[in-house]
Symmetry: C2
Subunit: 337 residues, 2 copies
DNA sequence: CTGAAAGCGCTTACAG
DNA sequence: CTGAAAGCGCTTACAG
C-alpha cells in the first residue's frame, strides 16, 4: 500500500536512479524529465523511506543534542532554538539527557550510543574527559560545544569571567562593599565550568576595587537550582550577616536566594541586593536584575555551525556572544549602616 | 575500519544470521554459541548499524515527541522524564517543535514528516484537526496524547475542571468573594484546551457558592506566558479593582500576575491573593500557591504507554493523575473591606 | 540449533 | 541526460 521509488519510476517511465536524482534536485536530469518525476511523485503521494536513504547514502539527516536536563530553562531554551534551526534545514533533532551530570562524580557518557544515528552533535554545558573525547571523535562527525569550551572543538558561549566581573562592578557602583557569591561546584570531569570562570570574575573584581574577598563570602552548591540557591543563601547570610549584595552564578539560584532573603524578613533590593546571570525568561516577573545572555541566538548559532561543518569541514570556531545588564528591582543602593 | 556483522560471524565461525540472533537474545541459539558470539562481538567492538537494522526490521527504535515549545517549563519537564524512560528501554527521542501553536490560528502540522522515522509518537498539549488526525493515523504507529485529550487515542493528564474547582474553593475558603480568572485562548484546531476546562471549573464553583461570575472577571491571553499574565492582570484589575483573589490557569501566567500586583503597590497574599495551576519548579521560590500536577510521572507514563502499545496493541487508555494543593504565601485571607 | 539467501528501499559509481 | 546494477548492513522466513 505504500508507494516506493519503483512505483514512481514505473509511472513516470524512467529509472529509479532518475527519480532519486530528480527528487533531490541533483544535476544531470533534464528539466522536462524532472518536472514529470516531481508531478508523478506528488500525485502518488510518494515519501522516500528515510532509513533506506540513510543506509544507502550514509547520511542520517539527524543531529544529536546531548545535554544534562531538558527541564532546566537554559537547556530547554537552547534546544528549542537549535531544533527549529535544524528542522528548517531538513534535519531531525535527537535528544539525549545525561544522568548525574553534576555533583563531584559525573557518570561517564559513551558517545557510541550515537554511532550511525547522527551527522553531527551539539553538546550543552558538558565537559568530556579524554576517554569520552576519544570516543566522541571516533564517531567521525562534527561536534559543537555550547557553554563549556572543549579544546579542539567548536564553541558557542559567553565570556563568563567578564560577565561576572561586570555584574560585580554593577553592585560596587551601587555602593556595596560586602558582596557574597553563589557558585556551582565542578566535578571530576569538568575542571573549568562556567561557574568557576564566573567566580574568578567576581573575585578579581573585588580585589581590583580593594574590597574584601574572603573565601567565606563564596557559597557553592552542587546543582544550581532555585532550592539549592535558597539553602546556600541561608548558610551564607548566617555566616556573614554583614553582606549587603550577592552575585549569583545563575538566575535560578538567585531566585531561590530571593526567597531566602524574603523569609528572613528582609527586602530584596533594599536590605540585600542580588544580581543573577543568564537572563531567565522569568527574571522580569521575579524582579531579578541579571546579566542576560542571548540564549536563543546561541542555540541557532550552534545549529548553524554543526550544519556548516557537515557540508564544509573546517577549523574549530569560537563564537562568543555579548551579555547585557537587564535591570530590575533586585539591586538597589547599599543600605546605610 | 568499522566492524560489521560479517566480521563477527567470520571470527566466531558462524553465520551472520546466528550473530544477529545471538546479539538480540532471540531464541534458537545454543547457549555456548551465543556466548562465543557475544565475546567476539565485544572483543571486536562491534556496533550494529542502526540504519541497516531499521531498514531490515522495519523498526526504528525511536519515538517522536511533538510539542509546542521546549523552552516552556511544562514541556521541558515532560520531555525530560519521557526521554529518560524511553532511553532506558533502548529508544531514542526525536523532538519536534510546532510553529505558531497558539493564537487564533495554528499552523497545520503534517505528521508525514515522522513517516518511517519513529515507532510511536507522544503529543504534548496539542489537538489535531480531522485532517491532521487522518495523516497521523496513516503512520500506523501508536500515539499518546498528553494534557489535551484526542478522542480515540491514549491520554495522560489531569482532571482540569476539578483541579480548577478545587483551586477556586481554596480561595473561597479563605473568604474571597470577588475572584478573577486568567485564562488562555483556544484556537481553531483546539476547541477543548485544558485552559477552557479550567475556566469551567472556576465558573461552576463561583455559581455553586452563589458568588459573582460575570464575564468581566475573566481575562484571556493568547500564549500563557508570564508577560502575558502580567498584562492581563493589569487589565483585569483596572476593570475590577474590587477583585481580591485571582485563579490563574497556569503558574507562569500567575508569576506575571504577581509582578503586576507588586508594581501596583499591593502585596500578594495580603491585598490580592493568587493561586496557579501546574506546580512549576519555581513556584516555591515565587511564593506561589498552586495546584501541582505530577508532571514527571505523566511524562514517564506517556513513554510507558507508547512503548507498551508497540509491543502489545491495545484499546486506547486514559490515565488521569491527581493534583495537590501546594501552599505558599500568595494566598491569604480576604482583606476586610 | 544453524545457515544460505532473499529482501528491506534507497543511492551511486559506472557505462553509455 | 539516463539506466542497469551493485551495494549500503542488517533481519527473517525458509529449509534442514
Amino acid at each position: 500500500m505504500d508507494i516506493h521509488i519503483e512505483d514512481v519510476a514505473r509511472s513516470t517511465g524512467v529509472s529509479t536512479a532518475t527519480v532519486s536524482r530528480a527528487l533531490r534536485n541533483l544535476p544531470g536530469v533534464g528539466e522536462e524529465t524532472k518536472k514529470r518525476v516531481l508531478d508523478t511523485a506528488q500525485a502518488l503521494g510518494y515519501n522516500p523511506s528515510p532509513t533506506a536513504s540513510s543506509l544507502a547514502s550514509g547520511r542520517t539527516h539527524s543531529i544529536g543534542l546531548v545535554q544534562p536536563d531538558m527541564s532546566r530553562w537554559f537547556f530547554g531554551k537552547i534546544l528549542e532554538s537549535s531544533e527549529r534551526t535544524l528542522r528548517e534545514a531538513g534535519y531531525d533533532a535527537l535528544v539525549y539527557s545525561l544522568p548525574d551530570y553534576l555533583g563531584p562524580v559525573r557518570q561517564r557518557f559513551d558517545p557510541t550510543v550515537l554511532k550511525g544515528k547522527v551527522d553531527g552533535i551539539i553538546v550543552l554545558s558538558l565537559f568530556f574527559d579524554p576517554e569520552e573525547e576519544r570516543q566522541l571523535r571516533s564517531l567521525g562527525v562534527p561536534v559543537v560545544f555550547v557553554s563549556v569550551q572543549q579544546p579542539g572543538f567548536d564553541f558557542v558561549g559567553i565570556d563568563d569571567e567578564e560577565t561576572a566581573a561586570r555584574a560585580c562592578r554593577h553592585l560596587i557602583t551601587m555602593g556595596h562593599k560586602h558582596i557574597g557569591h553563589l557558585s556551582g561546584q565542578t566535578n571530576d570531569k569538568c575542571p573549568v565550568a562556567p561557574t568557576q570562570r564566573r567566580r574568578v570574575g567576581w573575585l578579581n573584581t573585588l580585589r581590583r576595587f580593594r574590597l574584601e574577598s574572603a573565601p567565606e563570602l563564596d557559597e557553592a552548591v552542587t546543582i544550581m537550582t532555585a532550592s539549592n540557591g535558597y539553602l546556600a543563601t541561608q548558610r551564607l547570610l548566617a555566616r556573614r550577616p554583614d553582606i549587603t549584595a550577592i552575585l549569583s552564578s545563575s538566575d535560578e539560584m538567585a531566585m531561590g536566594a530571593m526567597q531566602a532573603i524574603h523569609e528572613m524578613g528582609l527586602t530584596v533590593g533594599r536590605d540585600i541586593s542580588i544580581i543573577g546571570i543568564d537572563g531567565h525568561d522569568l527574571s522580569p516577573a521575579f524582579g531579578l536584575t541579571t546579566m542576560a545572555q542571548p540564549v536563543s541566538q546561541e542555540g541557532i548559532c550552534a545549529a548553524k555551525l554543526v550544519l556548516n561543518h557537515i557540508e564544509h569541514p573546517a577549523q574549530p570556531r569560537t563564537e562568543v556572544y555579548p551579555t547585557t545588564l537587564a535591570e530590575h528591582r533586585s539591586v538597589g543602593p547599599a543600605p546605610r549602616p
